[in-house]
């Protein structure tokens, strides 16, 4: 399921990042690679702030819905 379905405080591992364009590479560089653990810090609708690899990343819905857990 996509990251947007996580609740605040949940932790989960990235299983897959969909898409093929450079957005995907961007996410990978920021640490969203399969197997990485992340925690949902805050949500604003489907816009999310997650903490991954010790940093806090804000993603809007388009980005968040491409990350599968």
């Amino acid at each position: 399921m996509p990251l947007t379905l996580m609740r605040v405080g949940d932790t989960a591992c990235v299983t897959r990042v969909t898409g093929k364009d450079h957005v995907r590479s961007r996410l990978a560089e920021l640490g969203f690679t399969p197997g990485s653990e992340m925690k949902m810090v805050a949500k604003r609708g489907d816009d999310v702030i997650v903490s991954i690899k010790e940093s806090r990343i804000a993603l809007n819905r388009d980005m968040a819905s491409r990350i599968m857990i």
Binding site: A42, K43, K53, R56, D62
Partner: protein, 714 residues
């Protein structure tokens, strides 16, 4: 001479390190992307060593202009050595860039920065072991406390003389095999270049590397076959394969050298984020913060200071002292008038405004330094997206309320070209500090100081941004979705007094310098042109050269309601610097000293302008092409004369259309009757509505979005 480049992730403390080892005071902010250009300095105590501060980057793939700046510098200009600044409290993500820097084939040292923050969070790092695994010295530093930085530089310099190079990471056997095959195929094309790096770039299908190598079609085809085969085998695309392998390398490093505190609770930053980005509270908190900023700088503290400077310093002291000094030395009459009517009046009006701007800059600096600015971008993204802009466009606009120049420069963190160009074009619609005197003049002279005029100026600025977002996004030039929002949010911290003051001074300094240079010259120019006729005889303002020029231009503005030559001249001098508008009126109405609100000639303005014409004048000056300094910034960011002219043309056309509609519809509704001007306004309104509601441009969007790599910087 030795050149050391500082490279690292955004917000890892590069600029703090740079300031510490060079003794300079570059601005350090707390949002990703503060350093957008590389900065050069000399090592404190050894001027032969040049330090280059590169923009913060997550990787060396050229996705955003900052990354291209850093990458071009490292691979084309070749510094003598690199200090890689790694944020120890966020080590895994930071080591990703390290894994790429290791491939640059340069001597490299790693500064494990913010080591104190890591220790506070119980993260234990074995620096020696990490150094062994990376094959380069690793030094623990805390740049903010100036610990370890000297040692890091010393070790790096030692390394450069020894000639030791960092060793690139070794990937899995399969990937290494393909990379070897590619290396063999491109060996001749690379020559004495960095073979391993090129092999990886070619494997990732990097367009720029392919362009540099000029591979023959045969070889390119052969390489593509191998990449495709490997992709099929790994069921992933080549770029992701490399990214994953890099993280595997990093994970191995981390597992051997770092111990994390497993029962770490919510960090304070997480707790603050839960509240300030909360669905319900986020907007009210943001509005309250903004209200406080403008309450402090515009309504209370800033105004008190500015009033004092205007009324006491430039109102009584300076003109009095200057006048008696001029009389005492028996200065010629014309020179006395130049100094008093021209320079003191014009420059004084600008300087009087500086305290207010300082308070505004101080507040903005605080917002940037504490970490809230990045959250604002996140909060505003939802709203801005509807108008075709991303939340990242909001930071430039917010900084633009102080001054458009740093605002325009802050747009560089926006990844997509179209979004960035649009932000550059629209940022100066928001009233900057220098436009506040114009607002004060019009609201004071014609609207009995109604605060509504000030608010309406901001509303007009925001409306212009929104309308432009919608309209431009539907054209072929800007078509496509706003780029998805992704931004690292820095940890909150209490800014240091020194940091905030340095930042404020950095920006305020520019204004004061401007008052002493360009505005001074412009004032002298305006005074000269308004005091002499074509035969260079001193004359009344009404018969001056400037009056003739003004009368020639004025008809252009009569449909806007202010086809009066003084206003036309003021609008033109506003291009030099917006502060000039009020000062120019002052000189033209013949006053020795003018407060920043121009209170002395309110009476004359009331006689010359109706409320409607005055408001139209205000809106035109707020929205039209910005001052020269900002146009220069637009030129730098657009990196194209064509786009710069487009920006200026668009802004001025929009300003003209908006003012015309305001004046013509205003006249109509206040009983002026339907005139030719009203007809033009109707046509403009219809055109605007058409542009707002027409179908967006769609063709070829696929091709644009499908182009994965943009390399347009530098």
């Amino acid at each position: 001479m030795t050149t050391i480049a500082l490279a690292g992730n955004p917000n890892s403390g590069k600029t703090t390190m740079f300031n510490d080892i060079t003794g300079s005071s570059q601005y350090v902010g707390n949002w990703p992307g503060v350093t957008v250009e590389k900065k050069e300095g000399r090592l404190k105590g050894n001027k032969d060593i040049v330090i280059q501060d590169l923009p913060g980057i997550y990787s060396l793939s050229p996705y955003s202009p900052e990354e291209a700046v850093a990458r071009n510098y490292l691979f084309n200009e070749r510094p003598d050595l690199v200090i890689d600044i790694v944020d120890a409290s966020n080590i895994e993500r930071n080591l990703y860039l390290t894994s790429q820097l290791l491939e640059a084939d340069l001597p490299m040292a790693v500064a494990l920065n913010m080591i104190d923050a890591a220790k506070k969070r119980n993260i234990k790092i074995d620096a020696n072991r990490l150094g062994e695994l990376l094959g380069c010295p690793v030094i623990e530093t805390s740049a903010i406390k100036s610990q370890g930085t000297r040692e890091a530089v010393a070790r790096a310099i030692e390394l450069a003389s020894s000639g030791d190079r960092a060793k690139p990471p070794v990937f899995s056997d399969g990937l290494e095999r393909v990379l070897r095959e590619i290396s063999d195929l491109i060996r001749d094309a690379v020559g004495d270049g960095n073979l391993r790096w090129y092999a990886i770039q070619v494997f990732e299908r990097d367009a720029e590397a392919a362009k540099t190598l000029k591979l023959s079609a045969d070889i390119a085809g052969e390489i593509e076959k191998r990449i495709a085969a490997f992709e099929a085998e790994a069921d992933d695309d080549s770029e992701s394969i490399v990214t994953n392998e890099r993280y595997l390398f990093v994970e191995k490093l981390v597992s051997e050298t770092v111990v994390f505190d497993t029962n770490e609770k919510l960090t304070p930053s997480d707790k603050i984020d839960r509240i300030v980005t909360n669905r319900i509270l986020a907007l009210p908190i943001f509005l309250a913060v903004m209200f406080l900023v403008y309450f402090l700088s515009i309504s209370t503290v800033g105004t008190l200071l500015t009033d004092w400077v205007n009324d006491v310093l430039f109102g009584e002291w300076v003109p009095g002292v200057v006048k008696s000094a001029l009389v005492a030395i028996g200065c010629a009459d014309w020179l006395q008038r130049l100094i008093l009517d021209g320079i003191v009046a014009g420059v004084g009006a600008v300087l009087g405004f500086v305290p207010q701007m300082m308070v505004l800059f101080l507040c903005l600096a605080f917002l940037e330094d504490c970490g809230y600015m990045a959250r604002i971008a996140f909060i505003m993204d939802r709203i801005f997206r509807r108008f075709g802009l991303s939340g990242k466009s909001f930071i430039p606009i917010l900084i633009g309320t102080g001054c458009g120049v740093p605002g325009i420069m802050a747009s560089r963190t926006i990844e997509s070209d179209a979004d960035r160009r649009m932000t550059v074009i629209t940022t100066t619609f928001i009233p900057c500090g220098a436009k506040l005197p114009i607002i004060a003049l019009i609201s004071g002279a014609l609207f009995s100081n109604s605060a509504l005029i000030g608010y309406s100026a901001y509303v007009a600025g925001i409306a212009a941004i929104i309308v432009s977002g919608i309209v431009l996004k539907k054209t072929k030039l800007f078509a496509g979705e706003a780029s998805p929002f992704v931004m690292e949010l820095p940890a909150y911290h209490l800014p240091t007094v020194k940091g905030v003051l340095v930042h404020m001074w950095d920006r305020a300094k520019a204004f004061i310098k401007k008052a002493g240079t360009i505005i001074l010259l412009a004032t002298i120019g305006v005074w000269f042109l308004s005091s002499f006729d074509w035969h260079l005889r001193m004359t009344a303002t009404e018969d001056s050269i400037l009056a003739d020029i003004g009368r020639a231009i004025a008809p252009v503005f009569s449909p806007l309601g202010w086809g009066e030559w003084k206003a036309a001249v003021a609008a033109i001098t506003g291009l030099i610097a917006k502060e000039n508008v009020v000062g120019t009126f002052g000189i033209l109405y013949g006053y020795e000293e003018v407060a920043e609100t121009g209170v002395e000639y309110w009476g004359q303005l009331q006689a010359a302008f109706t409320k409607l014409a005055g408001y139209s004048l205000l809106i035109f000056n707020l929205l039209c092409a910005p001052c020269f300094a900002a146009i220069g910034a637009v030129r730098r960011e657009m990196m194209s004369a064509k786009w710069t002219w487009f920006a200026i043309g668009y802004q001025t056309a929009l300003a003209y259309a908006a003012s015309l509609m305001i004046y013509q519809f205003g006249s109509l509704f206040s009983g002026g009757g339907f005139t030719a001007g009203t007809a033009v306004a109707c046509v403009l309104l219809a055109l605007l509505l058409f542009l707002l509601f027409k179908r967006p441009y769609r063709a070829k969007i696929e091709a644009r979005a499908g182009d994965p790599r943009r390399i347009d910087a530098v």
